[in-house]
């Protein structure tokens, strides 16, 4: 009975993991700009990976290998948001403007705009 419960829990966890990873993938493909994409890339993906790794840890049982899975889970929870922060901060430093609903530009227009801005700044610097 307990064994069956365990297997059922594992199945549910794997399904949840797949669902949230699917959400994250959809988000990264669908959302309009790099900042919104960073949301799902860091969060839904972290949760998806977390659920799946929890399933793996549960399947491996109490042993020498399952604590490695827990460690892996911990790493992903600490590093994924940090990486997303670094990426979005890099985008901000490059001068890429976040997209808003009343903005009819696409992500490529926003990139072009940021590059024009950077070039302009350089030209101003050269004249000095």
């Amino acid at each position: 009975m307990i064994e069956r419960l365990r297997v059922a829990t594992i199945l549910v966890l794997v399904l949840l993991g797949l669902f949230f990873t699917f959400v994250s993938t959809t988000g990264v493909l669908r959302l309009p700009d790099v900042y919104s994409r960073a949301h799902t890339a860091s969060q839904a993906d972290t949760l998806g990976a977390g659920f799946t790794l929890a399933a793996v840890a549960l399947a491996l049982g109490w042993g020498t290998t399952s604590y490695k899975t827990v460690l892996l889970l911990f790493f992903i929870f600490v590093t994924n948001p940090t990486a997303a922060h670094a990426i979005s901060r890099a985008a901000d430093e490059e001068g890429i403007e976040p997209w808003t609903t009343d903005d009819d530009r696409t992500d490529e227009d926003l990139l072009d705009a940021s590059q024009m801005e950077t070039d302009g700044g350089d030209r101003r610097g050269d004249q000095q």
Binding site: P32, H39, A44, T64, L71, P81, T82, D92, T100, T101
Partner: protein, 380 residues
């Protein structure tokens, strides 16, 4: 030379306090002394966009120079009467672009005030370009009749030998943690693992103890760890709740998002608490910390509900609980403190701020409706 006359360029560096002390000591020597502290204004690259005629730094600079004078009087102690202190702001109406320009202004001011020595703060950098100190020293040295010396300060970030600045407790704690981690990965407690683990942990402890700890780990941090264990389930619950919300938005055919950049001045202080808060914010779906400057977090929010949650400050309260204990949870939320701002677009700040949660749902649907044309663009 009985009467030392010093010129000291100052800026807000970690070592400015020690530089002032050393300059005062040198100036007093065995008789009367004269110290002239100058603050060199320079075009800060980050202020490029602001209106130069307003110039908000003036007040700050004046305050800073006043502080320097107080320090100098303090250091003079009983011999305060022997010390003459003057302050000045330079480069105010010039456009200083390079170390040469700064050196020129300094020399001009120094000659006008009959100064015979310049004391440099090793961390000094008025912001015209890095690296700054060497070129400045070089430019100043070209001018005859002016001694240039570097203030002998201790707390330097660079050029420190290994282990300097870290205590045995810090190195020991780091050794213990890395050794334990190594053994966890190895999985067995064989002689080979113990020996190689000890060697690796020693290397890590010697090399990185200064980077890892700012202060000695204490038992207070143990209590903090316990409170962190209480905080984690709450964080996990928030993550789950918000993830479901955002998943619904992303899988919605019309993609009803309303992204906005916001700014929050968080009521947490210090590096580790702010980092914890920023990471928690990023982990919670719908909010992503883009930039952290001191206590000010620039947060990108995906949906209005996430924005409201951020302004209600639940996570902030949790982080305060972890680092400052139960009492600190009483502090008002960012919204009540008026520490929140919606940056994009600025004119809509009030309307978005004032919404209650029902209003947000309505707004969300409405956004989905008129966002249809932009949505067509996204599915390219």
């Amino acid at each position: 030379m009985s009467d030392d006359r010093l010129l000291v360029p100052v800026a807000d560096t970690p070592t400015v306090r020690q530089t002032v002390e050393s300059a005062v000591k040198t100036a007093l020597g065995d008789s009367e002394g004269y110290v002239r502290f100058v603050y060199v204004h320079s075009p800060d690259s980050s202020r490029e966009e602001e209106d130069p005629t307003v110039d908000p730094p003036v007040k700050e600079t004046t305050e800073f120079l006043n502080r320097v004078v107080v320090w100098a009087r303090d250091d003079a102690g009983d011999r305060e009467g022997d010390l003459t202190v003057e302050t000045a702001r330079l480069g105010f109406d010039d456009y200083l672009f390079s170390p040469e320009d700064v050196a020129e202004v300094l020399i001009e001011d120094g000659t006008a005030h009959d100064v015979d020595r310049v004391v440099l703060d090793p961390e000094y950098d008025p912001g015209v370009g890095a690296p700054f100190l060497r070129p400045l020293e070089y430019e100043l040295a070209k001018f005859p009749g002016l001694d240039v010396e570097e203030a002998p300060v201790q707390a330097r970030a660079r050029r420190t030998p290994l282990l300097a600045g870290s205590t045995p407790i810090q190195a020991g704690a780091l050794f213990f943690v890395s050794f334990a981690f190594y053994q966890v990965l190895a999985g067995t407690l064989e002689l080979f693992d113990v020996v190689t683990g000890a060697v690796s942990a020693t290397i890590v402890a010697v090399g990185l103890a200064r980077v890892t700890f700012h202060t000695d780990p204490t038992f207070a941090s143990l209590g903090r760890t316990l409170r962190l264990v209480v905080y984690l389930p709450y964080l996990l619950y928030e993550i789950l709740k918000a993830n479901v919300q955002v998943a619904a938005v992303i899988l919605h055919p019309r993609l009803p998002i309303d992204p906005r950049l916001t700014r929050v001045r968080a009521a947490v202080w210090g590096g580790l608490p702010v980092t914890t808060l920023a990471n928690s914010i990023t982990l919670t779906p719908g909010t992503l910390s883009v930039r952290v400057d001191g206590r000010t977090l620039t947060v990108h929010t995906l949906v209005p509900a996430a924005r409201e949650g951020l302004f209600d400050g639940g996570l902030e309260r949790g982080v305060r609980f972890v680092f400052y204990g139960r009492d600190a949870m009483q502090i008002a939320s960012p919204r009540e403190r008026n520490d929140t701002r919606v940056l994009q677009p600025p004119d809509e700040a009030e309307t978005t701020d004032g919404n209650d949660s029902e209003g947000d749902v309505a707004k969300l649907n409405e956004t989905g409706g008129d966002g249809a044309n932009s949505n067509g663009g996204d599915s390219r």
